[in-house]
Symmetry: C2
Subunit: 243 residues, 2 copies
C-alpha cells in the first residue's frame, strides 16, 4: 500500500503565547487523513530563525514532505522563508517573477518591506494556483504556506490532493469494560496483526461506553480479519456496539 508521510511546522509566537488558537494543524490532520496521507509530526516553534531552520531540517530529512504554516509576510517577525533557506544552507534571492506578481496585486508604490516578500531561497519553485494570487513557495520537499486560515486552507487542500494516496479504512468498537480489562486482548490482536493501527481511548464523561477502540489499515481485508479476531476475543457482554 502506498504511504506518504508528512510533517507540519507551525511558526508563531502568537500561538505559543496563547493569543491565538491554531486551527491549521487540526484542519491539516483531518484533510491529510481523508487523502490517505500520514501526518506524523506537528511542531509549533517561535519566530526565531535558527529554531525554524532546525525544525524544518529535522522534518525534511525524515518525511516525504513538510508543510510550514505562518511567518510569511513583510514584517520583522516573518522569518519562515529565511528559516527554510537556512535549513538547506541556501541564500535568499530576489525572485523577479514574484516581485512582478506582488506589484501587480498591490496598491500604491512598491516599497522595501513589500519587496522583502519577493525574496525566496535559491533554487525554490513557485507553485501557482488560480484562486489565490500569491504562489506557494517550495524548496525541495518543503511547502511554505501562510498562517491565515483563509489562505492556508485552500492551499492545504491543493497539497492534500496532490499527495493523495491509498485511503485508510477504519472500524470502531465501543466497550463497557475498562482499558485494564481488555488490554491483554489488544496485545494479542497486535501480536497477530502487527500492521494494524489500533487505538484505545477511554471516556471519562457520561458517554454510554467506557472505551472506544479504533482499528485502521490501508488494507481493507487485513482490517476485516483483525476486527473479526478482536471481536471474537472480547467477552460478548463487554461490547456495546461496533461500526
Amino acid at each position: 500500500m502506498n504511504k506518504r508521510s508528512c510533517a507540519l511546522v507551525v511558526v508563531g509566537n502568537e500561538i505559543l503565547s496563547g493569543k491565538i488558537q491554531d486551527s491549521n494543524a487540526w484542519f491539516a490532520a483531518r484533510e491529510f487523513r481523508k487523502a490517505g496521507v500520514a501526518l506524523e509530526r506537528i511542531a509549533v516553534v517561535p519566530d526565531e530563525l535558527d529554531t525554524i531552520a532546525d525544525e524544518v531540517r529535522y522534518c525534511a530529512a525524515r518525511f516525504d514532505f513538510v508543510i510550514t504554516s505562518g511567518g510569511v509576510g513583510p514584517t520583522h517577525d516573518d522569518l519562515t522563508i529565511e528559516g527554510v533557506a537556512r535549513a538547506f544552507g541556501r541564500k535568499l534571492t530576489l525572485s523577479e517573477e514574484l516581485a512582478a506578481i506582488i506589484n501587480q496585486h498591490s496598491a500604491g508604490k512598491p516599497n522595501p518591506a513589500r519587496l522583502k516578500m519577493a525574496e525566496i531561497p535559491e533554487g525554490a519553485i513557485l507553485n501557482h494556483a488560480s484562486d489565490i494570487w500569491f504562489p506557494t513557495v517550495q524548496l525541495d520537499n518543503v511547502y511554505i504556506l501562510p498562517g491565515v486560515p483563509q489562505l492556508f486552507e485552500p492551499k492545504l487542500l491543493m497539497l492534500a490532493n496532490r499527495f493523495r494516496s491509498d485511503p485508510y479504512f477504519m472500524r470502531a468498537i465501543y466497550t463497557s469494560a475498562g482499558e485494564s480489562m481488555i488490554a491483554a486482548h489488544l496485545n494479542d490482536c497486535l501480536a497477530k496483526f502487527p500492521q494494524l493501527m489500533l487505538g484505545s481511548y477511554p471516556k471519562f464523561d457520561d458517554s454510554d461506553y467506557r472505551v472506544k477502540l479504533t482499528l485502521e489499515s490501508k488494507d481493507r481485508d487485513y482490517l476485516q480479519r483483525a476486527f473479526d479476531h478482536l471481536m471474537n476475543m472480547l467477552p460478548a457482554d463487554a461490547v456495546i456496539r461496533s461500526e
Copy 2:
C-alpha cells in the same frame, strides 16, 4: 526579570490522524502566559517509543521544564512513561507506592495491565495533590500528565502555579495601514528596544483594522517607553486605537 521556559510534548496518534482536536496545548499556552511562564515549543508526536524519547530528550536539554500530555494508561499505545525513561537512559521499575494507590482506587482484582501503570522510570518522583488521586510522575525536569482534558487541566494549573514567574505586560495598537506600510517603523522600534516582544498580525476579514500590533515585556517601564516610541513614529491617521 525572572523567566522560566518550558515545552509541551503531546503524544497521540489520535491527534495526528485528525480523530480528536487537541485542546491541551491551547489551554497550557494561555495558562502559562498568565503565570509568566514562557512556553517555547509544542510538539505532537505519535505513539512510538523512540520518537517520544527523542523529543523529550531534545526538550529536557533546552528548557527549564517539560510537560507531556497523553499516552498514559494500561494499553499497548500508552508509551509515554517508557519513552521518558528512555530519554534519560533509565529503566522502568515497579513503584510499590503507586501500585498501592492504584489498587486502592480500582474495583476488582489487580491485573497485569493495571500494574503496568505502576511502573515508573528509575529515579522518578510522585507528585501528590489532593483533588486527583493519580499522582503526577516527574523525572528530572519532565512532568508526565494524562491526555484527558478533565485530568490534564487541573494538573497543568498546579504546575503553572508552581513555576509562576514575573508577569508579562502587554499593549496593543490597531492600525488602518497594512503591514508593508509600517514594517520600517517596527524595525526601527526593535532596533531601539531589542528586548521588546513585538507581534504584527494582519486581519483579512471585515475587522475595523488591518493590523494588530502587540507589544510585550516583563518590564513595565521598558514596555511603556517602547510603546510611546512606536506611537510617535506611526502616522497619526494610521492608528485606529490602542490598548
